[in-house]
Subunit: 64 residues, 2 copies
Amino acid sequence: MKNNIKELRNAIKLTQGDLAERIEVSRQTINAIEKGKFDPSLPTAFRLAAVFNCTIEELFIYES
Amino acid sequence: MKNNIKELRNAIKLTQGDLAERIEVSRQTINAIEKGKFDPSLPTAFRLAAVFNCTIEELFIYES
DNA sequence: TTATATTGTAAAGTTTGCTTTACATTCTAA
DNA sequence: TTAGAATGTAAAGCAAACTTTACAATATAA
């Protein structure tokens, strides 16, 4: 699953570390999600969408 | 995290087994999600929303 | 009432999301 | 150009999502 986190994060000038702190995950988790190494859990996806003030559907691109 | 799966599933007259087949998870997984035993993965949440023709935000109620 | 469908639940095992620690690489500003 | 900030990545370990098998409980229909 792809996502727009890196772009949106840069748009509001947050580092991976900042974002990690905000949603209470590790910096490595943010890095891994941005790089597509794994998908976030549903709660983590909700918190990410909240930071960027968008929907989960806007943030993640699901491909069956 | 709570959800409206059971209601929406009954509304379109699907059994837990039917729904499980449709999104390619086990029946026990559907049961566990409906009963709130655990949250689905993000891909599973996307597939569920697709079945009910709604958004993830409409299907799941996130409480911080 | 009885058969059958549906739902609930349990145990054991696999995979994946996430952590911590640690270090290497790439930016960016002085 | 060099220091420090930001990012990338790896390994070991834990917890949660999900599987299969199996059986018990509850609906529903004949």
